[in-house]
Structures are given as structure tokens and as C-alpha cells.
């Protein structure tokens, strides 16, 4: 797909200039800026952060100022149990949610992929339609269900399954339920497209050669769906780690997820260097999964099937 590097015509440059400029000014520069702020001194509570670089300084001036940058904000974070706990809790909750989601989504996607052909696009359309509706509202809907005096407890008590309300709301369990519910469409779509593409002849061949249905699934269907499983898990794991809305609305005060800790640090304490350093560490934690996801997408994008 990519040919040798070539010079663009003026018309082509004009087309490229608008999105290029936009991305440099509103994405690349901001990301570089928080990297720089994270190296500033945490004591200062108002921007602009020292040192401020300027062209007038010349190279020597810039170098002298650069020496005043430091890792104070990172050192402060490393000593802060709150942040350490937040990162660990985020990874744990996102990991557990991803695993549960995979177990729910796989049979669901498989059933849709094996449905009669004319029904398939309707089914997958219905399954991913909730993605288009408000995330905030879908999370909010669970508060009324999960509360001690909510609908689920009410129903269970009315059926005499439990005597006292289960405390689900404001726990890490509620956050997991919220993540599983909100991100399910992201898991379903790649699984479905991987499963739907599979050639039924492969399964028939395995069955003809004497494999039991379980063996067919375990040795043919599942290995062939691996790219879909990986894509789905990454698509939900990465945003779930940085999630803010779900832990804030469904979690308890002890649910420290990094998105929420960062948010609170920023909006309550106005500690820009600390929040920036926390954001950079979050990116560093996610860099592995991000690169795998990026490579998978690049492959899909450069080799259109």
C-alpha cells in the first residue's frame, strides 16, 4: 500500500495542511505540554509553570532552564499510597471486567454469528446500538437497580431469595458490573466479525474426521477467533483502566481508580504537575497494550481484506 516516498503537489499539500496543523496544535503540542508540566515543581499551583521556554533564550538559555526540570512530581507520586493503590485497583478492576465480559460476549457473539444469514446484521446492529446512546445515562440506569433500596434487591426480597438487601451499590463489584455493561458492545463487535468470517467447512471437516462438538470448538473455532478475542479485550481493557464515570457513580469512596484519582487531584487540589505526572504514568502503563492494539489496527488498515 505504501509506495516510495514522494513529493506532494501543492493541491495535495493544501488538503493535508488543515488536518495536519490541527493535529499538531491540538494533539501533539498538548501531549508534549503535559509531559513538560509533569516535570515542573509541584509546589506551584498556578500556570504557567517554571521554567517557561522561549525562543529568545537561545540554546544555552534553554539548556540552563531545562536543568531545573525534575522528577519531583513523579517522586511525590511514588511516595503516595493513594496513587499506587489507584493504579493497582484500576488494573485489577479492568482485568476482572475484561475477563467476565469475554465470558458473556463469546457465547452471545457466537450465537449471532451462527444465526440465519438474513437475521445476522439485524442482531449485531441491535447488539451494538446501545454504544450510540449516552454512556453516562447507561451507567446512571444501574444506580436505581443496584441500590440497597433498588429494584434488584426489592425483587429478590419479594421473591424471598434474600432476607436483607445485598450491598452491591458503592462497591468495586458494582464498578465491575457497570464496566461489563457499558463496554459490552466493544467486545461483541470484534468477536462477532472474527466468528462470522469463519468458514463452516473447517468445522464440518473436523467433525467428519471424528471430533466431538467440544473438540471442534476447542481446536477449530476458538483458535481461529484469536484475533477477535485479542482486539475485543484490548478495546475494553484500555479505556476501562482510565475510566472515570463508572467508579465515580457506582463505586464507593474506597474505589480508587486512577481516572477518578486524577480527576479529583486536578479539580479539587488544582495540582497540575501531579495530575500531569499521573497521566503520563497511566500512558506508560498502557503503552504495551496500546502498541499491540495499534499494530493490530495498522495491519487491518494497511491490508484491506
Amino acid at each position: 500500500m505504501i509506495g516510495p516516498r514522494k513529493k506532494l503537489s501543492y493541491g495535495q499539500r493544501a488538503v493535508l495542511a488543515a488536518p495536519y496543523l490541527w493535529i499538531v496544535v491540538f494533539f501533539i503540542a498538548p501531549m508534549a505540554l503535559i509531559a513538560k508540566i509533569s516535570l515542573s515543581h509541584p509546589a506551584e499551583t498556578r500556570p504557567p509553570y517554571e521554567p517557561t521556554f522561549s525562543i529568545d533564550d537561545g540554546l544555552a538559555g534553554v539548556l540552563a532552564k531545562a536543568r531545573t526540570l525534575g522528577f519531583d512530581a513523579y517522586r511525590a507520586l511514588a511516595d503516595d499510597r493513594l496513587y499506587l493503590d489507584s493504579y493497582l485497583t484500576s488494573l485489577l478492576i479492568a482485568g476482572v471486567s475484561t475477563a467476565i465480559m469475554l465470558m458473556i460476549a463469546y457465547p452471545f457473539a457466537l450465537t449471532m454469528a451462527r444465526a440465519p444469514r438474513r437475521l445476522r446484521s439485524l442482531l449485531i446492529g441491535l447488539a451494538v446500538a446501545p454504544f450510540w446512546t449516552s454512556f453516562l445515562i447507561r451507567v446512571y440506569a444501574w444506580i436505581a437497580l443496584l441500590k440497597d433500596e433498588g429494584l434488584i434487591n426489592h425483587a429478590l426480597m419479594a421473591l424471598h431469595i434474600i432476607d436483607a438487601p445485598l450491598s452491591i451499590y458503592a462497591t468495586n463489584g458494582a464498578v465491575v458490573i457497570g464496566i461489563v455493561y457499558s463496554y459490552l458492545p466493544f467486545m461483541l463487535l470484534p468477536l462477532y466479525s472474527a466468528l462470522e468470517r469463519q468458514d463452516p467447512a473447517l468445522r464440518e471437516a473436523a467433525a467428519d474426521l471424528g471430533a466431538s462438538p467440544l473438540q471442534v470448538f476447542w481446536r477449530v473455532t476458538l483458535p481461529l477467533s484469536r484475533p477477535g478475542v485479542i482486539a475485543g479485550c484490548l478495546l475494553v481493557f484500555i479505556p476501562a483502566v482510565g475510566e472515570f464515570v463508572i467508579p465515580d457513580l457506582l463505586g464507593g469512596s474506597e474505589t480508587l481508580m486512577i481516572g477518578r484519582t486524577l480527576w479529583n487531584d486536578f479539580f479539587a487540589n488544582r495540582d497540575w504537575p501531579a495530575a500531569s505526572a499521573a497521566a503520563i504514568i497511566l500512558l506508560a502503563l498502557l503503552i504495551g497494550p496500546l502498541l499491540v492494539a495499534e499494530r493490530a489496527r495498522l495491519r487491518a488498515e494497511e491490508e484491506p481484506s
Partner: protein, 259 residues
Amino acid sequence: MRFARSLVLLLGFAFLYGPILILAAMSFNASKLVTVWGGFSTKWYVALLDDAAMLNAAKISLSVAALSAAIATLLGLAAAVALARFGGFRTRGLFFGAVHAPLVLPEVVLGLALLSAFVAFGFERGFVTLVIAHATFTMCFTSVVLLAALRGLDPSQEEAAMDLGATPMRAFALVVLPAIAPSLASAFLLAFTLSLDDLVIASFTTGPGATTLPMRIYSQVRLGVTPEVNAISTLLLAFVGIILAISALALNRPARDLA
């Protein structure tokens, strides 16, 4: 086997749609308590009409969504054309990565980065910064949709137009644009709904006087479940549902005719 499959589908869809439908039902409940049905009532919707702050937030959200989606669609189209048609120009890899990175970036990180930039540039935070922020984070989605559309297009038609003397501009406007019109519409809708829904990036990048609907809903939700929030939520769900249904019908028809 048939029964098992139907059961899986039933459970799956009940899980996906149950909470939303219960929320919608509760918005018509005359009682304030979720566990008591006090009879059918539209009084929470009427109460909404008196909530000037909520109506104003809805107006701001819709304007921001429309403006930022238009910008994101145009920028995404330019980016997609460059990526699909310009071959391997220098820094193509950097450009490709930077355009699509916001797809996988945690929202809090992007929100914080944009805010730092607006402060550093000396931009007054408010409506304009909100539009810029939303255009930036939705542009990656529009670019993905439009890139796929351009890739799926047969280049021979465009080449034929140019062989017949059309300039590249004219060939693009007369051949390519009409062919990808449905994708342009769905890219715009995707950007529109993403902007309408965003809480995190908006909270970082807006200023006083430009409170969006999700921000307004969020501050109410923090105080607990209220029937008014159920009502506005149901309206939003219905609004997006109608857009979805219309676009599904509009986009499906040509595909069905082709098949």
C-alpha cells in the same frame, strides 16, 4: 440446540436493553420511589420544561455537537483523502498515528492535555474551546469511517473522469463525494453523538457559561436518582434512537438494492 441459542440471545439482549427500558419506564412513574409504581404520569417531563438551566445546557450541547461534528467530518475527510490517496509522503506514519491515537487514549489524559494547551495558548475557556476539544477527539472516528469508505471505492471511476478531462478537484467532487455520501453522513452522526455524550473531556475544557447537558445531568446524578433526570435521559435515548433508526433505514436501502 435451537432452544439454547434462543436463550443465549434472549439473556444477552435482556442484559443490554433491560436497564435502559426500566429507566424509561421509571420516567413515567408518578411516584418518586423506584420500587413503587404510583401510576402513569408525564409530570416529570412537564417539570423539565421549567428547568431553564437544563434546557440551556441542552441547547449548548446540541450547538457544540453540530459544530464540532461538522469540523471533525471535514478534517477527517481531508485526513482520510491524504492517507488513502497521497501514497507514502514523508511523516505519513507520524500523521497516521497522531490522527488515530485519541481512539485509544484515556479520556482523562486527553482532557488534561487539551486544558493545559488552552491555558498555555491563553485561550479563554468556554464554548470555543469546547468545540475545538470535541472536534479533536471525534476526528479520529470520522477519519476511520471515511478512510474505510475511500478504500472500498473503485478508483477506476475517478480515473475515468480524469481521463475525460476532469481536474482532480472536479473528479473528486463529482465522482468520489457522491459515492461516499452515506459514509460522510454516518461519520457526522458518529461525531455528533460522541460529542453529545461526552462528560470527561467537556469538564476539563469548558469554562463558566458553557455547561453541557452531560455535565448538568452528572451534577444532578451525584445527588441521587431523580425522576427529572430519568425524564431527560429518556428524551436523550429516544433522540439518539430515532437518529439511529433513520440512518439505519437510509443507509441500508442502497445496500439492499445492490445485493
